[in-house]
């Protein structure tokens, strides 16, 4: 077995017992990137030289007998909407493809550095984290390592694909409406969206500030817990980060679901809620998810039927709020201080700004900015934005009621497995509707996790989603760990080698 195939906790043991060096690990992963990246296209930037330099530093510290931090020598891929000092941060947009080399690290990146992790590079994504397939990247689409004609999911598709392909050991993503969990599900890796405020957003390029949250992607639950512990905690630079103690997430990993009440939201298992065109839950997703729930019941959990009655309004409420916040957040891109600037042939300032934005943003970003602008404009604010915020209250209330009857919710992540490249790009609304099972957790701020639970007939991974009350990450990790310890879906790897 090659080093790039190991998990972070396995590598940590090998590094601690001096069987391998940090440079061995980095070189193994870089060689794997060289082998398969021309098929997967997971990275926008690979920072080979800085990564090797950093590995040598870590090895020098090890040789000097220094105590090593928790992720010492572990390579991590960072989604390209997280600021990295000295390393371009593009958000997969023409707007930031040039002249956007940040002068500071996002807090999560600084935490990784302090923990001894090695930043391998920046991963591909949907432009400004808007999309569900990583096809909205201004550079190139990322391919699903399990089936190269399929999408990896999105928007953290590069991070999820890099993990599945062995092109990194750990990865960071961001999740505004499912952007960690859905690519996790499509690529067969673990993805966790923490409680809103658990992880600092400082240095995360803002899309929808009341929904965005940074979180870990990993090849097993133990690694996800390890990474979450490094990322979590209060940050004075993010006034929405929560000043609450960070539990030792690794200690929550015990294989025991005895007596836990798992709520099965009935709206998630029928006709896809909110679907205008009869798209239901794909039987190829339903089967492994139902089997996973039966298995958890077999190990001592109790399955409870619950209802989340406003689920059918979730997609509309979510997109209105996300687009409204986006139209405000993306107003900062004017081509004056950094990034793209349109050709300047003596036009007035306002015209230069409009041209810069018209040329610098891709189709989906402009669509969302316009819808958000419309929803916030005079005469439409009450009908759209205010109504969406009221429905958000009802969705939160649905969860509050459900969590009186159960400890956490079990469900699919996506109505279908990874779809073909190009299949949904022509119909934006169809793409939005696919997010129906994931957007509600962001609206309510609660944590949610995707863990591999099986495969479709075509061999595509399927994830099981766990959602819990605010700050219930330990519970989600424990249930996911129990599932993982008793199954072997997470051990399967896509058959991917050098193209011959």
């Amino acid at each position: 077995m090659e080093l790039y195939q190991y998990t972070a906790h396995e590598l940590r043991d090998l590094l601690t017992s001096r069987q391998v060096s940090a440079l061995d690990v980095v070189d193994s992963v870089l060689a794997r990137i060289d082998e398969v990246e021309d098929q997967v296209h997971a990275y926008i930037t690979v920072a080979s030289h800085p990564a090797r330099d950093r590995a040598q530093q870590i090895d020098a510290q090890r040789a000097a007998g220094a105590g090593l931090p928790p992720l010492a020598g572990i390579p991590v891929a960072v989604k390209d909407n997280l600021c990295t000092a000295g390393l371009p941060t593009t958000c997969a947009s023409r707007m930031l493809a040039e002249r956007h080399v940040p002068i500071y690290d996002a807090t999560v990146v600084a935490r990784l550095q302090t923990a001894g992790a090695i930043i391998l590079g920046k991963t591909n994504m949907d432009e400004f984290a808007m999309g569900s397939s990583t096809e909205n990247s201004a550079f190139f689409p990322t391919r699903n390592p399990w089936h190269l004609d399929r999408v990896p999911g999105g928007t953290s598709g590069g991070s999820a694909a890099a993990l599945a392909a062995g092109e990194t050991i750990l990865a960071l993503g961001s999740d505004t409406g499912g952007s960690i969990r859905q690519p996790g599900s499509f690529c067969g890796v673990v993805g966790l969206k923490p409680t809103y405020g658990r992880v600092s957003r400082y240095g995360l390029v803002a899309y929808a500030s009341s929904l965005d949250q940074v979180g870990p992607l990993a090849r097993d639950v133990t690694d996800a817990a390890l990474l979450l512990a490094v990322l979590s905690g209060h940050d004075p630079r993010d006034s929405t980060s929560v000043d609450a103690p960070v539990p030792d997430y690794s200690r929550s990993l015990r294989a025991d679901v005895q007596g836990l009440r798992l709520g099965r939201p009935r709206e998630y298992f029928g006709q896809a809620p909110g679907a205008a065109r009869g798209a239901g839950l794909d039987p190829e997703v339903r089967a492994p998810v139902e089997r996973a729930i039966e298995q958890l019941a077999g190990w001592g959990a109790e399955v409870v039927d619950v209802s989340l009655p406003h689920t059918e309004y979730a997609v509309a409420a979510f997109y209105l709020i996300a687009m409204a916040e986006a139209s405000s957040n993306l107003a900062r891109y004017d081509g004056l201080r950094y990034g793209y600037r349109a050709g300047d042939d003596g036009v007035a300032l306002h015209e230069l700004i409009a041209r810069t934005r018209g040329q610098g943003f891709g189709a989906e970003v402009k669509r969302r900015i316009m819808l958000g602008t419309y929803a916030l404009s005079a005469g439409y604010y009450d009908a759209y934005y205010d109504q969406a915020q009221r429905v958000r209250t009802l969705i939160k209330h649905d969860y509050d009621c459900a969590f009186e009857l159960c400890d956490l919710l079990v469900s699919p992540v996506s109505p279908f497995p990874a779809f073909a490249l190009g299949e949904k790009v022509a119909d934006p609304l169809q793409m939005y509707l696919a997010d129906v099972y994931t957007v509600t957790a962001n609206l309510a701020g609660i944590p949610a996790l995707s863990v591999p639970c099986g495969f479709s007939d075509a061999g595509l991974p399927v994830g099981l989603q766990l959602q819990g009350p605010l700050f219930s990450e330990e519970l989600l990790l424990r249930v996911a760990y129990t599932f993982e310890q008793n199954t072997d879906h997470h051990r399967r790897r896509p058959p991917l080698g050098r193209r011959t």
Partner: protein, 97 residues
Amino acid sequence: MKIEVEQVEQIARLAHLALTEEEKAVYASQLSAILDYFAKLDEVDTAHVAPMSHPLALEIPLRPDESHISYPRESILANAPDREGDLFRVPVVIEQE
């Protein structure tokens, strides 16, 4: 909700987006379809429901009023599309009489 090209132009003006004629036509039809779907929210009776703007009930924290050393001017200007000395260069904002 049928969105006409003229409305697309009005929205694009508010959003500071210069669009091509082709884009305006595509967005008119796509925005119409998406807004039709969003109108589904009208079905929900929210007369007695308060709007929720944020997932957590946070207090607005105040930081100590202390001075800090900022980033070096040169590193801030390094990303500038156009500059003149230590300044960002932009088109004329106010025309002279």
